[in-house]
């Protein structure tokens, strides 16, 4: 049943350059969260800080009472067994074939026999649709397959927390939809805490329970999906609707002249909020919320046409 990640006042800089500062959020146990941000805002750095690959300068990351940011190396290696991580390019071991790659964590951390390992590996390979490719080397397959193989490896130890770095980069729209559906189905099945780092708007609008937005060296907002999708906050609104009008410019932030020039331009109206993806077997996930529930509870009127079953998944703007 998933584990909560409590991040408090985290900051990280490389040399004199601040990547992000004062990031505080709680990623709720068993829910799917998405971390968004324009390119180069340190989303991957945030992910690496969560697994303890990079030490943050200040702040704490609490997971089951252990502070990742300050614990000993031994505790770190122990707590990492709770994690499954999918790296951007899959990060498969180039010298092993896919089967050995996926079997690697099992051989290292469990006392399973070879035939038990084979069962688990084949089950996970089946889950990500890679049956028949287990003898291939990572160099011989496409980027999308490497990504799916990476997901299979992240899943073999039945993680409590699944961190996913840009699942949609380098995947075609159909595969992206499949992999998004897979995340939702997996969440329904294993109840792990999911954190997906991406800048794909479609994923962000339809997959998660919660959305966070990193912008301009800080966490602009973190909260339930409907809260961000109905937000009037310019940065959130611009990003989640992929518009050029707003504070985000081509190079990080727009300067005063550019902002002055578009002063009179109104932001286009908020597009309707789409329905969240549901598990393919129709049984609701434990953390699933009723469509429009957050808006109703907080007295927010969702944009017209929201939560319509017939609505397509296109973004506005």
């Amino acid at each position: 049943m998933g584990v909560e990640i409590k991040v408090d006042n985290l900051s990280k800089s490389f040399g004199k350059q601040l990547i992000w500062g004062d990031v505080s959020l709680t990623i709720p146990a068993g829910e799917v969260s998405v971390m968004l941000g324009p390119s180069g805002t340190g989303k991957s750095v945030f992910l690496k800080a969560l697994i303890g690959l990079l030490k943050p300068d200040t702040g704490s990351i609490l997971i089951e009472g252990t502070d990742i940011a300050s614990c000993s190396e031994k505790d770190l290696y122990a707590i990492r067994k709770l994690f499954g991580v999918l790296f951007q390019d899959g990060a498969m071991f180039g010298s092993m074939n896919l089967f050995d790659n996926v079997a690697f964590p099992l051989r290292e951390h469990t006392k399973k026999t070879e035939s038990q390992i084979r069962d688990v590996v084949m089950e996970k390979m089946d889950l990500v649709g890679l049956i028949g490719a287990e003898d291939k080397l990572p160099g011989e397959i496409s980027g999308g397959m490497r990504k799916r193989a990476g997901l299979a490896r992240a899943l073999v130890l039945d993680p409590e927390i699944l961190l996913i770095d840009e699942p949609d980069s380098g995947l075609d729209p159909v595969r992206t939809s499949f992999i998004n559906q897979l995340f939702i189905d997996l969440n329904a099945q294993i109840d792990a805490t999911f954190l997906i780092v991406t800048h794909d708007i479609n994923t962000a609008r339809t997959v998660p329970d919660n959305i966070g937005l990193l912008y301009h060296k800080h966490l602009a907002m973190f909260g339930p999906r409907e809260m961000l999708l109905s937000s009037e906050e310019p940065v959130v609104r611009q990003f989640l609707n992929a518009q050029t009008v707003g504070p985000i410019g081509m190079s990080e932030e727009k300067d005063a002249d550019e902002l002055e020039a578009e002063k009179d331009l109104d932001m286009p109206p908020l597009p309707p909020i789409p329905l969240q993806l549901e598990p393919s077997n129709g049984i609701p996930r434990r953390s699933q919320r009723e469509p429009g529930g957050w808006c109703r509870d907080n007295g927010v009127t969702p944009p017209p046409g929201s939560f319509d079953h017939k609505m397509s998944m296109t973004t506005g703007g």
Binding site: Y77, R80, K81, F87, D89, A91, M92, P105, E108, H109
Partner: protein, 261 residues
């Protein structure tokens, strides 16, 4: 401004410190179980396969050049019968470890740095740490031990091939007599010369492997970073090896009295 200059001047000190700390991490990883026997054997085989032939090919001219130089000089003193002993002394004491170190740093070190560097930028090392495996214990320790083992044996190879090369050149080209070359073997050389050659080879293997692993594991900035890491690892280990060779020779000469008569 002054702080920038200071940080630039002190940067190499920091790097040296990090390299040393890395060495200590490796020493600690040495005692962690389980020992990666498979990786160790694979690496030892790999390093041997990339170094044996070049080492032999380097050793022949090395021995020949010493025979030529010393042979010519010694002839003027009328002490031709000592050519053999001079060659043994030079090859076993200096040429063996130096040729070994060049090959270990140049062939094995660059291969290790490139391998680990590529793994680093493909995030394989990160993935390994996330899967709860310490890459130092898993990848670096077997490589360091394999490098030391292979350096040890390569040193023996260089000694044999170098002395044989010297023999051929002395006998065939310089009209030396085979009997004199062989008989004078033990005139100046002694057993401790062989030991110090072996110890040098072990230390050189250790240094070359640690520098290569350190540089490889700290590669950054994409494919170019791997190239830079390989380049730096070869340059740094060459410099270190020559300095260490000098220091070890100086200490040896102080400790072991030269053989007389």
């Amino acid at each position: 401004m002054s702080s920038i200059t200071a940080s630039r001047v002190l940067a190499p000190v920091g790097t040296a410190g990090k390299l040393f700390a890395f060495g200590l991490d490796v020493a600690r990883g040495l005692f962690k179980r389980p020992f990666q026997m498979r990786e160790f054997l694979q690496q030892a085989w790999f390093i041997a396969s990339v170094t044996i032939i070049p080492t032999a090919l380097v050793a022949i001219p090395f021995g020949a050049v010493i025979a030529l130089q010393v042979g010519g000089l010694i002839k003027q003193f009328g002490a031709q019968s000592f050519t053999g002993s001079a060659a043994v002394l030079a090859v076993v004491r200096e040429a063996g470890p130096i040729a070994t170190s060049l090959l270990i740093a140049g062939a094995a070190g660059s291969a290790i740095a490139a391998d680990l560097g590529a793994r680093k930028i493909r995030e394989e090392l990160d993935a390994m740490m996330v899967l709860g495996i310490d890459p130092i214990q898993r990848l670096v320790v077997p490589r360091v031990l394999a490098c030391m083992l292979v350096a040890f044996f390569l040193n023996g190879l260089v000694s044999v091939v170098g002395v044989a090369g010297g023999y051929v050149f002395n006998v065939v080209l310089q009209d030396g007599t085979p009997g004199a070359y062989l008989a004078s073997f033990t005139a100046l050389a002694q057993l401790p010369d062989l030991w110090q050659g072996m110890v040098k080879a072990l230390v050189f293997g250790l240094i070359a492997a640690i520098v290569a692993c350190y540089k490889g594991m700290n590669a950054a900035g994409g494919p170019k970073g791997v190239g830079d890491a390989v380049n730096e690892s070869v340059v740094i280990s060459f410099m270190l090896l020559f300095v260490v060779n000098f220091v070890m020779s100086a200490i040896y000469i102080q400790l072991v009295p030269p053989k007389t008569g």
